[in-house]
Amino acid sequence: MQGDFKKLSEIKLGESAVIESFTDDTMKLKLLEMGCLPGEVVTVTRFAPFGDPMAIAVADSMLSLRMSEAANVLVSVRS
């Protein structure tokens, strides 16, 4: 089933996707609290100058996370 999903770290600048699930428990709890819930739309708004970390817009706020962290978030791209 995971085959249909992409990692958040693979989403390109300016593109949006829907959060599906998380592959890391600690990260999951932290992200859930901050409003990154399954079903929410995330938009990749910026990459730091060396390509890492990334900034995402989700649920009225802008969050930053490292690429290694974003790799733990599985998303589906809307067509």
């Binding site: 428990d25 932290k30 859930l32 730091a48 706020s61 802008m62 996370l65 490292r66």
Partner: protein, 707 residues
């Protein structure tokens, strides 16, 4: 009649909590630490007249910002401890929750957790001006009914809504009747067993205890109870990460429905703040201009701290010289006079003189933080700093370290990963703090000629810049080394919110600075003055007949014969307790080019580095009353090496001393803070040894090369 009430303020970071706190308490604030941890505890008070004959004295505690009750960092432990543990000394009668109206969903998450604790609470929905501007309407009556607690719209910046809040605080608040969500459903047996075992207000408190059994101080005196509950958890296979995730999802599910009911976006206008933020970010986070602007800002800060502060510092210096002379003349000659002028006043002057620099530096740092810029800098620097085992958030401690390592190390608390936080704490003292500045200034003026290149760039200024650079390079190099030596306890992460840009709240900044200065004067000041007095005693008394003999010779000597006077004063110092100590360590420091007088300064500098200058003036002017640096400088310049007969302070000794001060851990306060932040003496001692070895080797090498 006066009634007392305890109130806690709690809310997400950037929700306007400090603004509200300042609004309520004004300057009636105190900063201390929560017991056992160095998390800042801001408390304040206000009086409310209820109009029916009662005066309410309200004690307010500002809890650190948090997104949920689940503690993830040291700071987030505090709201959890205070709110979930009814025996905590700060446990409130009323909890005031501050929500960011522009991000209601996330704010309601924390709010709903507090509602389920079933203790009196009030929700304040802040930033209503922006909510209204973006065309959004919130049905507060409905919201209040659904949550079961009073809800107050507010704009804390202008003070709108403050009076309603005050009224609400003193009115009888009933505890919410219904659970927002019933957490007992997730683990019925566990919640029930815990509630049978200890008396608690709600199912949710029991659920929280189950999740954080090791963190909650509630059971610190009742370990057998803790073991009993742990046994319950084991028996039922309670998995707290599954439990927390289920709770979070359930809460957001209910909140989403609630928000749909109470929030109406009539004609949603894209918020101006967000559009502006995006435009500004395109510039400030640009791959080239972003770094360029950051460097330019740093440059301005350095210029300000060193150039603008010079004038007020001179005034402070002159004021203290004037005072010393006045006091010296007003009180009869004698031990008391000497103690007052050479011990206490000299020590006080050494403290007060740093205030202009501290005020300037903290003003800049506070503005950068308050506007939201620091979060961007952390974002831009994370990848670079990560290579050195640090974290984007290490930027703030490293920059603050230029002022003082103590608050800098405290600001490392926002780094969630233990390893990155520890490395930041360990290397921050290598950044050249403001206490090193007087030492550098004195030594540079002694050994570096006042050349000018291209008419404006001074050699002395360049050397000063080089010393700061050396400190920074040493910090990064050490971090890299420690990255391979320190074991990671958990994976590091860098999930943080990037807030929209906001105008700095000048009042908040003002309060921050007043507090920092207050802490500096009373905390650091105490130590510095005490050391000055001790040093004065040690250098003006000594054992045995030889010291007494010289002392009486000095008292009866002809005041006009300055040569004899100076000779006897130096002899007296040599025989004093301080002199004996200095001579005892001379063999160790001799390879670095230091003599016993410098030895005394090295020992006393351990109290605080700037004591070096004071010590030098005490050593070279015991008997005189002039504390002016210029005269110390002249005396040091005239000082001859006992063995060679050449000037003692030559280029080699000067550089050796400067490098020693750049690297050595000569600060008790820093070590004390590192001990508290890391929980044991292990790390400060490692740090002390590491920095000491680094200092000794560098000084030795530079001394050999230059001499």
């Amino acid at each position: 009649m006066i009634k007392r009430l305890k109130v806690s303020l709690v809310g997400n970071p950037n929700s306007g909590k400090s603004t509200l706190f300042n609004r309520l308490t004004g300057l009636n604030q105190k900063i201390a630490n929560f017991p056992g941890v160095t998390v800042e505890k801001k408390t304040g008070s206000m009086t409310i007249n209820s109009g029916d004959g009662f005066d309410y004295q309200i004690d307010i505690t500002d809890l650190p910002g948090t997104y949920s009750l689940y503690p993830k960092t040291l700071e987030e432990q505090i709201p959890f401890q205070v709110l979930c543990d009814p025996t905590n000394e700060s446990h409130p009668d009323v909890t005031v929750i501050i929500a960011d109206g522009t991000n209601l969903k996330r704010s309601l998450f924390l709010c709903s957790q507090i509602v389920d604790l079933k203790s009196p609470a009030i929700l304040v929905v802040n930033m209503m001006d922006q909510v209204t501007k973006s065309g959004v309407e919130i049905n507060f009556i409905r919201l209040s009914k659904e949550l079961g607690i009073p809800v107050i719209p507010m704009n804390a910046r202008d003070g709108d809504g403050i009076d309603f809040l005050k009224k609400a605080i003193i009115s009888k608040i009933t505890v919410p009747e219904n659970d927002f969500i019933d957490t007992a459903l997730f683990a019925p047996e566990v919640v029930q067993s815990i509630r049978q075992s200890v008396k608690l207000n709600s199912n949710y408190v029991a659920f929280q205890i189950a999740n954080n059994i090791d963190q909650i101080s509630f059971f610190n005196d009742r370990q057998e109870r803790r073991a009993q509950i742990k046994e319950i958890l084991n028996r039922h296979g309670f998995d707290h990460s599954i439990m927390q995730a289920s709770e979070t999802l359930k809460r957001y599910e209910v909140i989403s429905l609630l928000v749909k009911q109470v929030v109406k976006a009539k004609n949603a206008i894209p918020s101006k703040e967000k559009t502006f933020t995006k435009k500004l970010d395109n510039l400030l986070m640009h791959r080239f201009w972003g770094y360029f602007i950051f460097l330019a800002i740093l440059f301005v800060i350095f210029q300000a701290v060193f150039a603008w502060a010079a004038w007020p510092m001179e005034m402070v210096d002159e004021a203290f010289t004037w005072m010393s002379i006045k006091v010296h003349d007003a009180i009869p000659e004698g031990v008391f006079n000497d103690l007052l002028v050479e011990g206490i006043l000299a020590g006080l002057g050494g403290v007060v003189i740093f205030i202009p620099q501290i005020v300037l530096l903290f003003t800049f740092i506070a503005i950068l933080e308050d506007t939201g810029y620091m979060a961007r800098v952390s974002f831009m620097m994370d990848k670079l700093l990560r290579r050195f085992g640090l974290n984007g958030r290490s930027v703030i401690p490293l920059i603050s370290g230029v002022a003082c390592a103590v608050p800098a190390i405290l600001s490392a608390r926002t780094i969630a990963s233990w390893k990155e936080r520890l490395i930041t704490i360990l290397v921050t003292p290598l950044m050249s703090c403001s206490a090193r500045l007087p030492v550098y200034a004195l030594l540079i003026s002694l050994v570096v000629p006042d050349h000018k290149y291209l008419g404006i760039i001074g050699l002395q200024g360049l050397v000063l810049f080089a010393l700061y650079l050396i400190g920074f390079i040493a910090a990064m190099g050490s971090a890299l080394l420690m990255k391979f030596l320190v074991k990671a306890k958990e994976r590091s992460y860098f999930i943080m919110e990037i807030p929209v840009y906001r105008m700095p709240r000048w009042k908040n900044i003002g309060y921050t600075i007043v507090e920092k200065v207050r802490v500096f004067i009373f905390e650091a000041g105490k130590v510095i003055v005490a050391i000055s007095v001790v040093l004065w005693v040690l250098s003006s008394s000594g054992p045995g007949a030889a010291f007494k003999d010289v002392k009486s010779q000095l008292e009866t000597a002809d005041p006009a014969d300055t040569q004899l006077q100076n000779h006897l004063a130096a002899e007296k110092l040599r025989l004093s307790y301080a002199g004996i100590t200095g001579r005892a360590i001379e063999p160790i420091i001799e390879p670095l080019g230091f003599d016993w007088k410098i030895g005394i300064a090295l020992i006393t500098s351990f109290a605080a580095r700037e004591v070096f200058v004071g010590t030098m003036s005490t050593i070279y002017s015991v008997g005189g009353s002039d504390e002016d640096i210029a005269t110390v400088r002249e005396k040091m310049m005239a000082e001859k090496n006992d063995k060679t007969g050449l000037p003692q302070y030559n280029l080699a000794v000067g550089w050796s001393l400067m490098l020693f001060y750049a690297f050595a851990m000569q600060c008790m306060s820093t070590m004390a803070v590192v001990r508290r932040e890391t929980g044991s003496w292990k790390w400060p001692l490692i740090q002390f040894a590491f920095m000491g070895v680094l200092a000794y080797i560098s000084s030795f090498i530079i001394f050999r090369i230059l001499s």
